[in-house]
Assembly symmetry: C2
Homo-oligomer: 298 residues x 2
C-alpha cells in the first residue's frame, strides 16, 4: 500500500496530556498552551474535558479555557464529554466537537469508567442524539486496543466490535488507543486489519503511547495500513495512570519529525511546536518527553 501523502495530527496534550500530569495548571497557562498549538498549525486540538472536577481535578476550568482561547477558523477545538451532563456543559461552553470514550477490554472499562463496554456504549446514545440535534460532531475513542493492564492481550476482533459500534452510532472518526503502550508493529497491523473489515480506514485514527518506546514504529506500521490520522501530545505530556513507567503519549514533535522526514504533509511548523512544548514544560517544571526537543536543546 502507498503511504498517505497527508496526515492529520490530533493534538491531545491539553486534555489527555495535562489530565495525567501531577502538577496543577492554571486556566491562563492552558489558554497559552492551546493558543501556541494553534499558532503551530495544528488543525485539531483537544482542549479539555467536561467531567466533574472531583474526578479529574486537572480538567477543572475547561469552560473558561474554551471562552478564552483564540478560535482560529478551520481549527477544531474538541473536548471529552463522558456523559450527558458533561455534554450539556460542553455545549454551553460553545464546544463544536466532542469525544466519547470506550474501552476494548471489559476489565479496563469496569475499572476506568465503572461499567461494562455495552453499558458505556448505551450511555453514548443520548449524547450522540443530542449532538446531532446541535450539529455537533462526535469522535469516539477506544482504549486498550493492543493490551490491557488487567486482561493482557486484547483480541483484534474485540477491538473491531467496539469500533464498529461507535462508527454505527455516528462517530465520524474512531481513535484506536494503545493505552498501555505494549503494542508492536505486527500486532498494530493485525488490529487495523481486523477493524478495517468493519470501519473504513479513512474513519480511523491511531493513538499510541510511548511507554515502551514503540509509538513511532506503530505509527509507521499504521501508515502502511493506510491510516492517516494520529493523536499525539506536545512534549509527550501525560501518560496512563494505570500503566507503569514515566512516558505517556507519543510526543507530537517526534511524530512530526518522522513525517517530515518522509515528506508527509501535516501543516504543522516544527519550530513553533518546539516553542509550545518548551513553554509548557517550563510551566510544569518537567523535562520534555520529546526526543526531538531534547536533541534540539543540545
Amino acid at each position: 500500500m502507498t503511504l498517505p501523502t497527508h496526515v492529520r495530527l490530533i493534538e491531545v496534550g491539553p486534555r489527555d496530556g495535562l489530565q495525567n500530569e501531577a502538577m496543577p495548571i492554571s486556566v491562563a497557562d492552558k489558554v497559552h498552551l492551546v493558543d501556541a498549538l494553534t499558532d503551530a498549525g495544528l488543525g485539531y486540538i483537544e482542549v479539555g474535558s467536561f467531567v466533574s472536577p472531583k474526578w479529574v481535578p486537572q480538567m477543572a476550568g475547561s469552560a473558561e479555557v474554551f471562552a478564552r482561547i483564540q478560535h482560529k477558523p478551520g481549527v477544531v477545538y474538541g473536548a471529552l464529554a463522558p456523559n450527558l451532563r458533561g455534554f450539556e456543559d460542553a455545549v454551553a461552553a460553545g464546544v463544536k466537537e466532542v469525544a466519547v470514550f470506550a474501552a476494548a477490554s471489559e476489565a479496563f472499562s469496569q475499572r476506568n469508567i465503572n461499567c461494562s463496554i455495552s453499558e458505556s456504549l448505551a450511555r453514548f446514545v443520548p449524547i450522540i442524539e443530542a449532538a446531532q440535534q446541535h450539529g455537533i460532531s462526535v469522535r469516539g475513542y477506544v482504549s486498550c486496543v493492543l493490551g490491557c493492564p488487567y486482561e493482557g492481550n486484547v483480541p483484534p476482533q474485540q477491538v473491531a466490535a467496539v469500533a464498529k459500534e461507535l462508527y454505527a452510532m455516528d462517530c465520524y472518526e474512531v481513535s484506536l488507543g494503545d493505552t498501555i503502550g505494549t503494542g508492536t508493529p505486527n500486532a498494530t497491523r493485525a488490529m487495523f486489519e481486523a477493524v478495517t473489515a468493519h470501519v473504513p480506514r479513512e474513519k480511523l485514527a491511531g493513538h499510541f503511547h510511548d511507554t515502551y518506546g514503540q509509538a513511532l514504529v506503530n505509527i509507521y506500521a499504521s501508515l502502511q495500513e493506510g491510516i492517516a490520522v494520529f493523536d499525539s501530545s506536545i512534549a509527550g505530556l501525560g501518560g496512563c495512570p494505570y500503566a507503569k513507567g514515566a512516558s505517556g503519549n507519543v510526543a507530537t514533535e517526534d511524530v512530526l519529525y518522522m513525517l517530515q522526514g518522509m515528506g508527509i504533509e501535516t501543516g504543522v511548523d516544527m519550530d513553533k511546536l518546539l516553542l509550545a512544548g518548551q513553554h509548557i514544560c517550563n510551566v510544569l517544571g518537567r523535562v520534555t518527553g520529546s526526543r526531538v526537543a531534547k536533541a534540539r536543546q543540545g
Copy 2:
C-alpha cells in the same frame, strides 16, 4: 517482502556505548558488563577498542578486559582495530574478530579519523591482509549513512560505494550507521535499496542512533528490506559526541521488546538483559536510556 524470522543482535554497549560516556569505568566493571551480556544470550559483543588511550581514554585496558571475561563457546567477542598497531594489539590479546571504521561522508571522515574516505579504506588493506593470515574475521562499519553533522544529506549512492568497497575488501559484514540519528523510514529503505544493489542484504547490518527517537522505526523499515542484523547498546549507553542531544545508540532492551512482540527470535533473555542494564547504569550513575527499562522500573 516477508520479515526475517531470526535477528542477530550485535551488542555494542561495552565499546560504542562506554566510549562515549563521560564517567570513567574500571576493568572489573567492564568485565562484569560483558559477562552479564553473555549470560543474557547475546551472540556478539563488541568488547573494546585497540586504540591509543590518549585518544580514547574510555577504551584503556581493552586487552585486560579480553583476558578476564568469560569466553562462552559460540559467542563472538569483537573489538575495534582502527589501524595495524591496534590490530596487532588485538591479536596479542586473543581477539578473534575485529572491526574497522569508515565514513560515508568526506567531511566526517576528515574530522573523525583525519583522512579521506579512500585513505581510510587504503589503511584497512594491511589490516585485512593480516587478519586473513591469522584467520580473523573483519567487520566493517560505515558511519553517517543517513546524514552527516557537517555535510547534511548523504546520498545513498555514496553509502553504497563505501559499503561495496568494504565488502570487496573481504569484510564479512558491513554495518551501516545512522551516526547522528536523523534518518527516517523512507530514507532508511532508500539507503538499503541502494546498498543491496552492490552488497547482498544478508551481509549487511543496521546501526541506528536514537537521538531523534527514530531508531526503532528505522529498524522496522530495515527489517522490511530484509536486513536481519542490528547493532544496539545496553541501556542506550553512549551517543555520538559530534551530535547534539542526550540519546545515543538505540537501547538493546527496546529493540528486543519490539522483536519479541513481533515473534522474531534473537536468543536473548529480556530479564537478564534488564539486569545487565540496571547494573551498568548504577555503576555509571546515570539514568537508563531504555524506555522498556524505565517502564519496568515503574
